[in-house]
Symmetry: C2
Subunit: 329 residues, 2 copies
């Protein structure tokens, strides 16, 4: 007779992600959560389903020995950021977790990081798959948006302004500090910058507010230089960006010279701010929407007929780092 | 000026998965596919969304040097099998692909395996994330099912029969043959068994047909011994299974003695058949539904009040391998 107790892998998921059961239970749109062959979910009437997936790999997307709480937070944050970029409401997530061994202390921290952020955004973890292997974390996020209202990369029109939320380059500095490549006596700034890297705040609330105001949006994951090119390309337009207008934080400016700060803003990635295209006469509305969620919104340039990206610094042509982060270059 | 051409990672995905663009284009329920921050999908009115994720890791779930076409096929098949187990109609998939390098020949084979199977089931690949790292493949499958009609593990009632589709243990033998652990002069049988391992056929059509007939269902991924325990546990019942009734293929019986065949049927996993609970008076309907899709459906036992699994062989108590495949034991 085989005992019908749950198996080891099952126990593992149960123990560290059991909190997600109550979260799933609180959502009436979760018909069936973790524990069956698949989850059953109810998308609101009149809404479209929004789906994205992002993977974090040890040694690539995080330092191997960094706090597992940060890894858990970031694994969900990068996906929430995709929802923000669409103006969508995140609702459910699944987790594909590949890890070398079932390390209880690590799982405790990792699940806390992931589930705390899920709770903040009311997201239920509804399924997952745990496998043994090199540390790799894929989160699939599912959300919804009223039909026809999602923000897209390709919606910008010639004459639209380009704007970004928050400040850029902080995560790049935070990573440099965390990795020991940058040192500073400004401990408060350092702590702030490291936190910006380790615990990014996806701009979900603002993304939802920007629907109906913005003409296009995307999230800044790979660095502005590469990402602005993608939005311009998707919209069939040229982007003109004034590098001197990029919003830099005081913390960042206190630890490195301006040219280094700009380089991180353009090419370091991991900021998870939003890049928005908006008609000039609606920029004030957008800025007000940002204000309501305690977020800055800065105009950095505009879109014109043509293609490619033209960068200027104090009115003169400027050569930006060619591309953002690209995994196979 | 930065050239607005697509970036390397982007090109990679474009080149090998571009076929999925046309497939997505053929589905009117794909509002926005690959290329934005997220996909926009339309779930049919009156249907629930069904979501699952499964990961394949090199060296764990496939032999490192096996044909990438098989890896691509299996990565989607294991997820389609979850849809089959719910009686759901698969519709969309996303792919999280971590690979050591952008190897064109490998990607060509991998994408062909995945997309051929996607085409067979009318599934559109609507998003993905490609990262550099140890070879790991996560597929997230999304489907739908009319509200209230999904098959679950926990729906069985005392007195229900347990049945399985197809034959069991073939994939175990196929893996042993592919890995060089088993040798045989029966080349036709060997080819058939290896194909059962490398190219499993998820029982999607049958799963849909079983809705309204079956009381519970799950897919057999980890081996019958562990999986039947899970269904019994989820339903709060005891399973009684006659091992002598397990359906074994002629190919399997031609290459190994019966006791080895049974061991693979019970514990090897990877068969991706369905385990079904059905009221005895409805078994004929279930078998007829199977017949219509050229599938066998064999009664192997029943569910009774209690817990655990009782195995018999020719009427005598039998000790089955304790558990199916478990990644952390």
């Amino acid at each position: 007779m085989t005992d019908a107790e749950p198996l080891g892998e099952f126990e593992l998921i149960e123990r560290y992600f059991s909190r997600s059961k109550s979260a799933a239970g609180n959502r009436t749109d979760v018909i069936l959560g973790i524990g069956d062959d698949a989850a059953l979910l109810r998308v609101p009437a009149g809404a479209d389903l929004v789906a994205a997936v992002d993977t974090l790999v040890a040694g690539r997307h995080f330092i191997a020995d960094c706090d597992a709480r940060s890894i858990g937070h970031r694994a969900l944050a990068v996906n929430l950021s995709d929802m923000a970029a669409m103006g969508a409401t995140p609702a459910w997530a699944t987790l594909a977790l590949t890890l070398p061994s079932a390390d209880g202390a690590w799982l405790e921290r990792f699940s806390a990081g992931l589930l705390d952020l899920a709770d903040t955004h009311g997201v239920a973890l509804v399924g997952g798959d745990t496998t043994a292997g090199p540390l790799t974390i894929s989160v699939q996020i599912l959300g919804h948006v009223a039909q026809g209202t999602a923000l897209r990369r390709g919606g910008a029109r010639a004459g639209d302004w380009l704007a970004v939320t928050g400040t850029l380059g902080d995560a790049g500095a935070g990573l440099a500090l965390a990795a020991g490549r940058l040192h500073t006596a400004h401990y408060t700034s350092a702590a702030e910058l490291v936190a910006r890297y380790e615990y990014p705040s996806p701009r979900v609330e603002f993304g939802r507010a920007a629907r109906g105001i913005a003409s296009a949006a995307m999230d800044l994951s790979d660095g502005l230089a590469g990402d602005v090119a993608k939005l311009a390309f998707a919209s069939g337009l040229a982007a003109h960006v004034a590098v001197d207008r990029l919003p830099l934080s005081r913390a960042l400016e206190s630890v490195v010279p301006e040219d280094q700060a700009r380089e991180w803003a353009l090419a370091a990635g991991d900021d998870y701010e939003l890049l928005i295209a908006v008609a000039p006469h609606r920029f004030a509305e957008l800025a007000a929407a940002a204000q309501r969620v305690n977020l800055m919104c800065t105009a950095i340039g505009e879109l014109r007929p043509g293609n490619g990206v033209q960068w200027t610094l104090d009115g003169r042509s400027f050569t930006a780092p060619a591309h953002g982060y690209d995994h196979f270059r």
